[in-house]
């Protein structure tokens, strides 16, 4: 809910016909890929029962390619389904995946971490005008009023490096950033105020781990937070363990997080997790000149040691 912009401008960002055209092209491409045997499965989206909703779908039968859709309700980062954590759900062989620009950054990151190989993937990029914010009104077409916060300042709407890109977007309006403003507000705080801000937010955490489970980079087979012999982080949803869990999460994703904001979208307690992600991304850029998911060849700065690394923090 917190990544939903204030309700103001209800002018549709793109015509409904745009989604219809992309959906058509997507179905044709998926059916072709499956029937020609180029891929064994297509990971995409299908419509939900409720108006304005959609969810992940794994299609293996070309006859069912017509269940796939693309719309502003296609919020999920499907890269999740290629990770070790979801091992095997898409089967073996070459797999096609529908990817928005931000999802593509996650794919690039997973390639850099040797979790997937480019040659095993057929990437169907979709030109994206943005997705609905969680908790936003989905009965109306996508507009500045119900757009996800991350999309207001997106620079990767037209995906690069895909095998095919579906859709050509009309020029989109420049929108005022919401997340960047919030981040600036946070950075202007004193450390004590910032600590209080996060303490209050994390106190609400119920440890449902939706944030972890939807994150393409939380693919560890043994999460530190599930360990009990010895226990590293208190497992109960209480302030101490919650803080520890969120510090672990932030540190393990620093320089890896692709910025898809899936964690924040999934959080049922409206904890602004992407703010923390963005803060860590900025630190990594300032310290090491590194941006996650730009090219699939780099190793993240926190897994490499160089003699000229900044060591001023060692006191």
């Amino acid at each position: 809910m917190n990544n939903t912009a204030q309700k103001h401008d209800a002018t549709p960002l793109v015509a409904e016909s745009y989604y219809a055209a992309v959906t058509d092209a997507l179905r044709t491409e998926a059916a072709r890929l499956l029937s020609e045997g180029v891929v064994t499965a297509v990971i995409g989206y299908k419509e939900g029962r409720r108006h304005g909703t959609a969810g992940p779908a794994i299609v293996v039968d070309p006859a069912r390619a017509n269940e796939l859709i693309f719309s502003a309700a296609c919020v999920n980062n499907l890269a999740l389904y290629l990770t070790k954590a979801k091992k095997g759900v898409a089967g073996t062989g070459k797999i096609a995946i529908v990817a928005k620009g931000c999802d593509l950054r996650a794919l690039a990151g997973l390639m850099a971490e040797s979790q997937i190989r480019r040659e095993d993937l057929h990437i169907i990029g979709v030109a994206c005008a943005g997705v609905f914010g969680s908790g936003a009104d989905r009965r109306e077409p996508l507009s500045a009023g119900n757009l996800a916060g991350k999309c207001r300042e997106c620079s990767v709407g037209a995906p690069e490096g895909a095998d095919i890109v579906i859709g050509t977007l009309p020029p989109l309006p420049e929108l005022s950033p919401v997340e960047a403003e919030e981040l600036a507000r946070l950075e202007a705080m004193t450390p004590a105020e910032r600590w209080a801000f996060w303490k209050e937010n994390f106190a609400r955490c119920i440890r449902c781990f939706a944030c972890r489970q939807v994150c393409p980079f939380c693919y560890c087979e043994q999460c530190l937070c599930d360990r009990n012999r010895p226990q590293a982080v208190e497992t109960t949803p209480r302030p101490a363990g919650n803080m520890a869990w969120h510090i672990v999460r932030a540190m393990h994703l620093a320089g890896r997080c692709a910025g898809c904001a899936e964690c924040e979208r999934a959080c049922p307690m409206d904890i602004p997790l992407n703010l923390l992600n963005r803060k860590m991304a900025r630190e990594l850029k300032e310290l090491y000149g590194h941006e996650a998911g730009l090219t699939p060849v780099e190793k993240g700065p926190l897994v490499i040691y160089r003699e000229d690394d900044d060591q001023s923090f060692i006191k």
């Binding site: 029962r49 389904y81 119920i206 363990g241 049922p268």
Partner: protein, 334 residues
Amino acid sequence: MPKTITEQNLRLLIDSLIKEGTRVIGPRRTGTITLYEPLARGEELDLNELPRRSAKEVFFPVCENILSFQRGEEGVKVTDIDPCAFPETVLIGARPCDAAAAPVLDSVFSWDYKDEFFLQRRRKTTVIGLACTTADDACFCSAVGLSPADSKGADLFLTPVREGGYLCEALTDKGKTLITSHARLFAETSAAAPLSLNEPAGVKLDLHKIKGWLDENFESPIWKEIADRCAGCGSCAFLCPACHCFDIVDEGTEAEGHRRKFWDACGFGKFTDHASGHNPRDAQPKRYRNRIMHKFKYYDDKFGQTLCTGCGRCIRWCPVGIDIKAVLEEIQKG
């Protein structure tokens, strides 16, 4: 003659209960989120939307201490928590889908083992239910035998009326006492017109037929089809008014600590992970199957009740769009 209470007097009721030393829990909004929380003043009551988490936490908190231990000169001293010392509580503004879940949970918490942490809170709590005017497209109480006007589980039930305020119906002795002990806040009316409650739309469910299918289809390709995409989080179970699994853990240092009871979820991969390394539910579809089986078959087999009140929370908050109502409709088709 039926009783009514104005919006203002409802807040005054809360204030006077608090003054008498009663803990009052009701929907309260902080930032973007409404939760059932202890109220400090009547004004904090916010009945505009269905709280994000269910009211089960009034009886079954997210996390609670069940004992504490200290190591001393004479060995380890264990101190029990006394459930009899839990405070008298009024839960106000519980929607039908939340209030109705409490008596369903009584069955499991008072079955072979009597869970006094749950049961004492139940005894000490008076539930003021609220007829619901805000059904959305995820709600389906009417499809599982309830409705926005159902007072099951409530001691006192409020129905909003056109003139503003509420019609109050006392259903139990607890409810009657609440009215008589605050009689000046209630009025008598002969003609209060209840607001129309919009029934959730959509297909009605035949729970008997669904159970029949579940009896026969532990193994079915449908589970993989529905739940391969399930991310295995605790969102659905934690927000649900009827899910009641918990874990127990000792936390602290060698010198002192607490034994804690806290929410767990059958969607987690570790939920059935044995110490041996074997995991009988070793894939997500098996875990999701358990969610459906437990709600619509096992609990029915054991207690003749269904573990779902149709609140729609798991539908609204499943991060991968798994919609339990759609799943049940599919099963109903056979």
